[in-house]
Subunit: 323 residues, 2 copies
């Protein structure tokens, strides 16, 4: 079984300098790759970062998808067509790949995919799940490749602490999720907002937790973009969920909060600071907010499931019909 | 007054090789920069491409924002705080900038912003508007910098033809926009989908034309991602607008259409092929679809405005209150 740290060292020794990192997958797995994309973009002085749905990589591959590139993929079930095809294309072009999957019997778990098979149990430590694994890979890679990289120890510390933070946060919000569901279960539509690394969780909360698992209509918004159009919909009748992250991007979330406080009435704030993310060093804790927010999206969707009597695992198309 | 072609030549002569192109702005202006981002990503073998809202560039600037980078900005009114600040930061870091604005008296039109002041009249040719100007800049840049670049003439030809295509399409859809508004003006929510370079227009149609200008709730979706979550909301009661582009990405839009035909009932297809985009060479016409789709979003929102009696220019926050 490949361990992330050893796998990236092996790739680096064989491949030499990594110049581009592509993060590609589909849906919820693509969401899990965004914090890594954001981290490389913010921290690296040697690597360019790309994040896109697997099919778009296939139909319009960057010319930097070649030797010198590392492609990180993820497919929970391990047989997602687009992800498997993207991995194949990446290899054909000479890029190195790492593929995460939960399914040890899948295509993505085959040896030539450089697989990392992860657990996905209720008690699986956050650093053994995709978002944690991606941070472990990138932290090692930056240490190997960039002598000036100074956040190695802080990231390791964050990886050790984040599971405890998530556990405590889950307990803390349980009652809130019930109250939220009680108040808003019949709402026909809502907006979910975030920024920075956590923009991914506004997207994932929307497309996975609500659109897919609750058949609830919603829209994801970037808090920075909110003020350049979407805020015109805001009034006391509209429902918002605001994910407040940390780091330099937080100013955008704070501005959205101030606006909602003044002009809105129905909004739920999920604040990573209030939920304990500051136990991790301030220089890196923004990269761990999405792990926390994912757990919060699970908590809130579970509250909604129970109140709405709409099972999270019910599907009408995915795995049910051909498309 | 700076002409795009001369300006980029001047910058290239002074700056030397461009290694990174950043496209940054806010809201509708950010939308206009996406096709350029997508074009560089798809076509260039020497330049990396970045697209992000101006505030996020400011709070988390890439380390590649330095000498060797070109930053293309746009602000219609010319004084958007975040855009002005992003330009300032880019210059401080040694990057070259080009700033598009409609307002000759604005900060963005000052000499040190390398401004291109564009017209925005009903009869302004598409190649004189931001999306056209971006393509003109990038086409010259690729010709200057990449000896292997083969699409120069095809892009020039597209720039000459696109205005006529848009004019004809506007006439063609006029009745359709009335019928659409008549049927759906009271709809509480809709999804707007696209992919490739035209994903930007699904985003812009949503956040500008509907959320901002009609206070209508909606959500933008990528047709590639649609099948990995969001499609579970689809049924005969949900309304969709599907933008069908051209080029390699079209397969994703076609797949979404097939699905909507089978499981949906209320969907409006805006197909660039049917609207004449194929008059432009097939090797490049996908980059012109967003220009056409923008005009279509104007046509549809005007239909909605007239039926809903909600003036496109009515605002409750933007330019009205402090935030």
């Amino acid at each position: 079984m490949n361990r992330p740290e050893e796998l990236i060292k092996k790739i680096y020794e064989k491949q030499g300098e990594i110049k581009d990192v592509f993060f590609t997958a589909c849906g919820g797995s693509l969401v899990d790759l965004y914090p890594g994309y954001y981290f490389v973009n913010a921290e690296s002085e040697t690597m360019h970062s790309h994040w896109l749905t697997a099919k778009e990589l296939i139909v319009t591959p960057s010319k930097f998808l070649k030797k010198g590139a590392l492609v990180i993929l993820c497919s929970h079930g391990g047989n997602t067509n687009e992800t498997v095809e993207a991995a194949k294309l990446a290899k054909e072009r000479g890029a190195a790949i790492i593929t995460m999957t939960h399914n040890p019997d899948s295509i993505c778990a085959k040896d030539d995919m450089n697989p990392i098979v992860y657990s996905w149990e209720d008690d699986t430590d956050e650093k053994e799940r995709p978002q944690g694994i991606v941070m472990r890979i990138l932290n090692e890679l930056l240490k190997l490749q960039e002598p000036g990289y100074k956040k190695y120890e802080a990231i390791l510390d964050g990886l050790d602490k984040v599971d405890g933070i998530v556990l405590a946060a889950k307990k803390k919000v349980k009652n809130r999720t019930w109250v939220f569901a009680e108040k808003y279960f019949a709402e026909s539509f809502l907006y979910i907002m975030g920024s920075g690394a956590s923009y991914s969780q506004a997207y994932g909360f929307s497309i996975c937790s609500l659109q897919e698992m609750q058949w609830m209509d919603c829209c994801y918004l970037h808090t920075g973009e909110y003020f350049h159009g979407p805020f015109e919909c805001t009034d006391e009748d509209h429902l918002y969920i605001l994910l407040m992250g940390t780091g330099a991007a937080r100013v955008m979330d704070e501005r959205a909060l101030t606006f909602l406080q003044k002009y809105g009435k129905k909004y739920e704030v999920i604040d990573a600071e209030e939920l304990g993310i500051n136990a991790i060093d301030a220089s890196v804790n923004e990269y761990f907010c999405p792990i926390l927010f994912y757990a919060m999206s699970v908590a809130y969707r579970t509250g909604l499931q129970d109140k709405r009597r709409h099972p999270l695992d019910m599907r009408r198309y995915m795995g049910v019909v051909k498309y």
